[in-house]
Amino acid sequence: MKIDFVKKENVLSIKIDGEIDHHSAAEIRTKIDAYITGSNTKYIVLDFKKVGFMDSSGIGMVMGRYRNIKRVGGELCIVSVNNSIKRILDMAGVTGIIPVYKNQEEFLGVIK
C-alpha cells in the first residue's frame, strides 16, 4: 500500500495507491492520522485515482477521517472514484454526506 501526501497551503491531497479492504484500511488509517496530527490541515482530498478496489471497510475508513477533520473544523472530499467504488459509497449514504468530485481540479475550483 502506497500513500502519497501532497500539502499545498491548507489543502492536503492524499493519494492512495492500491486496494482498500479490511487489511489495508488499518494501515491507511494509521498513516493518515499520523500525518494529520498537528499539520494545520483545513481540507483533506482523498484521491482514489489509483484505487482499483474498495469494499465496505473503506467506508469506515473514509467516515472515520471525515469525523476527525470535522471535529477540528475542517472539510473532506473524495475525488476520482471508479464506478464500482461509487456504488458502495452511494449504498452506504456516504455521497450524501461527503462531496465527491470528478478530479482534483474540480475540487480546487470549488474552494477558490
Binding site: 486496494e19 479492504d21 479490511h22 487489511h23 484500511a25 488499518a26 488509517r29 478496489f53 469494499d55 465496505s56 471497510s57 467506508i59 469506515g60 475508513m61 467516515m63 472515520g64 464506478n83 464500482s84 458502495i88 449504498m91 452506504a92
Partner: protein, 143 residues
C-alpha cells in the same frame, strides 16, 4: 455449453488473506467470461464475506476460513465458512449500517453489499459453532 467446476480453499483467518480470496474467486469465475462489472461485484462480495469470518467469526484471532466456489451452467456459487463465534441475532446483523464493532470503524454494510452485488444470499449461523455464507450470481454472458 454445460459447465461444471468446483474448488475448495482453506486458509488462516488473517486479514492478508482477504486479497488472496478475492484473486482466487475472480480467477475461478473468469472461466465463465464475466463482464468487468460482474467480476468487481464478485470480488467485493467475497471480500465482505471473508472479512466477516475474520473479524466477527474469529474476533481477529486464529481460525480457519474455508472458501468453496462452484460453477454450474451460468451460475457461480461461493460459500464462505468459519467455525468461529456464530452470530447471535442474524436479523440484526443483516440490517444496513448495523455493526457490533463500531470501535473498529466498521460500517455495518457487509451483508447489504453482498446482497446487492450478488443474486442470492443465504446466511446460516449457530452460536459458538460458526457461520456459513452462501452467495450465487448468474453470469449473463456465459455460453
Amino acid at each position: 455449453m454445460k459447465y461444471d467446476n468446483h474448488i475448495k480453499v482453506e486458509f488462516t483467518s488473517k486479514s492478508a488473506n482477504e486479497s488472496l480470496a478475492r484473486v482466487i474467486a475472480s480467477a475461478f469465475v473468469s472461466q465463465l467470461d464475466p463482464t468487468l462489472e460482474e467480476l468487481a461485484d464478485i470480488r467485493t462480495a467475497v471480500s465482505e464475506a471473508v472479512t466477516n469470518a475474520i473479524i466477527h467469526g474469529y474476533d481477529g484471532g486464529k481460525g480457519k476460513v474455508i472458501m468453496e466456489c462452484t460453477l454450474q451452467d451460468h451460475t457461480v456459487e461461493i460459500k464462505i465458512v468459519d467455525k468461529g463465534n456464530g452470530i447471535e441475532d442474524l436479523n440484526l446483523a443483516m440490517q444496513p449500517l448495523y455493526t457490533s464493532k463500531p470501535e473498529l470503524e466498521r460500517s455495518g454494510m457487509g451483508f447489504t453489499v453482498m446482497q446487492s452485488f450478488m443474486d442470492f444470499l443465504e446466511v446460516k449461523s449457530e452460536l459458538h459453532k460458526g457461520t456459513t455464507i452462501i452467495m450465487r450470481k448468474c453470469i449473463k454472458n456465459a455460453d
